[in-house]
Symmetry: D2
Subunit: 342 residues, 4 copies
């Protein structure tokens, strides 16, 4: 019986529980693996805070948001000796290896641990979809669906009042949520950090939609900065808690576009509703399959890899290949969406 540790790390993401369930069920029923969970990501590894994960612990959880393991932003390598603590924890629990479900930070830590001889398999997790080496990350579809439903609601208010509505969605490094939710909701402008455009271009799109009798709809990623601006609203600035501040670009656009176009304008910051709650069926299936594949890789000794979606297939890639680059929206996808603007 191979023993495997599992942890979820970084921001909440719909589908985490489905990954855990997929890994545990596949392990118990097919591969003769047994799981223990570390609480709150790497914190549980560093502080030896664990819980057993028999099959009964994961029943019915694939449709639940959140993570039964808890999560944190603890970095196992932020202090000297992190590697040794991880290694000791694995020894203490007689673990053949770890399955680490997390984003860029976690996968980078996983790669470093793997390079120094610790058995790790990564499962890519981010609602932002900005991880390379996989077509989609689980959580992204749910975030897009939630954002789209919210924007559909904003739209009726815009149409009733002949207003311009602005919706700020998540996306710190890449505009994937804005691109997809904007296309799905029929936005007249989609603004993403990868493609800076000046305010007067945005105002022209807004005015053009208004002139055709539409209620202009702008979907903007939190990290967008208009071309020619220095981001006085500090989209990457810090709030009073030392965290990046949501809502900066939404407020700037609300003020500037109303001034430039003369059209009454209202901004809404969708915020955390995008990262919580029940996963869509798409994300449940993807997350379940990724969890099963992680166990399959663990059972086969495929350490140092990350599981990944390519087309309709789940495969594995080397952790070294998987991390290090942000997957931004390519120019071709932006140009495609832009045909629908104005």
């Amino acid at each position: 019986m191979k023993r495997v540790g599992i942890l979820t790390s970084g921001g909440d993401c719909p589908g985490l529980n489905a990954v855990i369930r997929g890994a545990v069920l596949s392990g118990e029923q097919t591969h003769g693996c047994e799981f223990i969970g570390f609480r709150d990501g790497w914190r549980g590894v560093l502080e030896d805070d664990t819980l057993p994960l028999p099959r009964s612990a994961v029943r019915g959880i694939s449709r639940l948001g959140g993570t039964i393991l808890g999560t944190s932003r603890t970095n196992p390598l932020s202090e000297t000796g992190g590697h040794a603590v991880v290694s000791a924890a694995m020894g203490r629990h007689r673990l053949a290896g770890l399955i680490a479900i997390g984003g860029e930070g976690t996968l980078t830590a996983a790669r470093i641990l793997s390079d120094s001889g610790i058995n790790v398999i990564g499962v890519p997790k981010t609602i932002d979809n900005d991880l390379g080496a996989t077509d989609y990350t689980f959580g992204f579809d749910t975030a897009v669906q939630t954002a789209t439903e919210a924007i559909d609601r904003l739209r009726t208010t815009g149409e009733s009042h002949h207003r311009c509505m602005i919706a700020e969605v998540m996306g710190r490094n890449a505009g994937w949520i804005a691109l997809h939710a904007g296309m799905a909701a029929g936005a007249h402008a989609i603004l993403i950090p990868e493609h800076r455009v000046p305010l007067n271009q945005i105002a022209a799109w807004v005015s053009s939609a208004h002139d055709r009798g539409r209620a202009p709809l702008v979907v903007v990623a939190e990290a967008f900065v208009p071309a020619g601006q220095k981001a006085p609203y500090s989209p990457r600035g810090l709030d009073t808690f030392g965290r990046p501040r949501l809502g900066g670009i939404a407020m700037l656009l609300e003020q500037q576009l109303q001034e430039m176009t003369g059209i009454e304008t209202r901004a809404t910051v969708l915020g955390h509703i995008q990262r919580g709650g029940e996963p869509t069926a798409f994300d449940r299936v993807l997350a379940t399959r990724l969890g099963m594949a992680a166990t399959r890789a663990a059972a086969a000794g495929g350490w140092g890899t990350m599981v990944s979606l390519r087309g309709t297939r789940i495969s594995t890639v080397d952790l070294g290949v998987a991390v290090g680059t942000v997957k931004v929206v390519p120019e071709s996808r932006y140009r495609e969406a832009r045909e629908l603007f104005g």
Copy 2:
């Protein structure tokens, strides 16, 4: 064939189209009434901007958010001579009377017009549910449902990160949305303008939930001011566009509660998603029935009244009785909810 004008006025509200459809279908099929619509509320009356409303114009609209007539915040009585302009418009279109669908402002205008001899019937409309003389207003159920679904999403993030989550909902004069969405979502504190409590009481509720292993959830109405505070965040203050500013109390609580409790805290301002989009079945039925009752009253010459829900019955009340007092959350309902706090 009696001709009746119809208009929607004030903020967007789920169910407006269902009222219009109910009024028109009932008029055409049962009461021999014919409708014309005024565009954008009283603006359409003042500027004679109308559209015909045959049965075919309202087909399939009861499930659509927004209003096919458009809306605005124009007050017909804000300038001298408004009464005469309304009267002239009615004469020009040979209208026996008007059905005005709107909130406190519109119903007050309707009462004044009615007192001076103009035939008006009011239909109460507000997502805030703060109009007297009716058990519920249409739009409220949808706003509560939308807020509850959003808060359910926030909750999983709170639980995964062991954070306190704060959700700010609408409610400028009364805390009805906060009360209902807070009860539905299982909040550990519900904060409404009718019942000011000091920050240290709120912090105690948050800490108590945290101590029992829960992720504390606070639902707060936009107009709540903590006891003993002067509202430095100016919940009734104005933003750069001269509008009341959302989010003030959410940001204050985020900062203060985190400081007082030591628990990581995140606030989300739900904003305009609460007032747009598809109505719930409850609101579609209520709105349809109110629209039908308005036409029934018009056909019977029951001018100067407002249609209203009492228990499961639709009735009419005198416009003079209906307006003038804000329906706040009574002490008994607050005490009931408070049994669930902490």
Copy 3:
């Protein structure tokens, strides 16, 4: 510390868990009551199958469908001596009384037990909304919302194919779900058991809608029988398992209406999806309040009553008054809906 037993009986109904949570929290925090749960309704009482219900057992359950106590259709009085067994169970667990959450059958049993001296409080439960002495039962709003969303989906298929679509909804004794879901979805005919109409009238409504370019939509309660028919499809008949058979009337109408109108017709039987799943915010609030009121009544010694909704207030009524009559759709509500047909 007063000890109270609680049980859920009869068919699944959204909001059961919210009732349980409301009763337990209110009891522990305000009234000094302590709860034990009986598993699977009266079966748990008869077989002494219980579980403790401290506050921690009900955390977060108000938004969950189903019942953490389980349910069954066991009737405590179906065999001689039932009364004594119930009484003995209460003695064994030192219970001051029982809170019984159930429908007509359970409430009737509760009344009989109460009459013979057992302390019981009833909480009315049925998605069908056919219990008297309360404006609405919890679960009904969710059933109507679920049915309406499903019918909205059927409608687009009808419109794309120019077909007549028939949706059969639940309602064994009364047409409340059909009435509300039909109004909400904009049906061209609503068929309920309280108001039998002949097939040729239904066909006329369908043809009239079709002639105006609409895709006819018929919403029918499972127990509707066309006027002049003997129910050859046996809506109250039994299937191979001895249960009433769903779908009989839908199939009859599909065949007959297609034949009579020449319009391609498709029927869908919504079935069990109407009685499961997450409750709406409306039902969560109503159920929570009813649960709290049941505990309040228990603490005050108000045995032999049923909690009930009147307008916006929760009150109690005598169990003897509450049971015995089915609350059918009154003629006035049917006539109101019928103005929208055709």
Copy 4:
């Protein structure tokens, strides 16, 4: 200005309107194309029933279910001379070519027309996802999401009553909806036509779940036939209207599994709710992109092709390659799902 005809053919499918909108907007704004629509699929071509499709005709439609063009199952080649009639219609309207949005039948007709010199581009459409040469078809994600939400509801009823619940989903030739909805909902058995298993194996899965304290959940595709059976319930048989009959396998399983396992069992046939209604964000994006790609291909003279999704890219494939084979669930995907059974 290139003129292009567009039509939607076959069964309703969420996303049809998004394809039309994507094609028209892309044509007008980028490629100098102008569109006319044929009503009700090939019927509109054969009977010359058309409508103009300027940009204003497609505003806001991407989130609407159904098709603004209407659809039918008319086959243009079912009678002699079909080819000539299509050709004449195209000449009469000076069309450079046709964009045909449809399933296997339509794409086969498109290929035959194309082979005989008529300019056609196909857009693959089926909720069943059983068309080759594309990773997914639009409509499938919505069907899976709708089915999953319905099954989530059934599940709570199963758990409350300790019953086995059976959900029959669509899938005439392939089990894709059952596979995905079953995985998403956490089914204890998924039954698809590609992989016949005997009834006693299904009963064993059901009993195994029941023995572990679960409410067994079975998801079955309409066309599944148990191994060793002759389909006495005639899954491919015809109903009284000459259409394949839904519900046959659900009823058979309900009866047989209850008998074999002794566990109370209830079946629900989800039916037409799976093919109508608002598309998910995923399907809106996919459909919009496919529509745009179809116009791009038309503008470039790429006739005789079908647009297709490969990974995250939209490409074109030869119509001859695209049709002729049903894309069934491969053995590897079934084995993967099966690890979760029982």
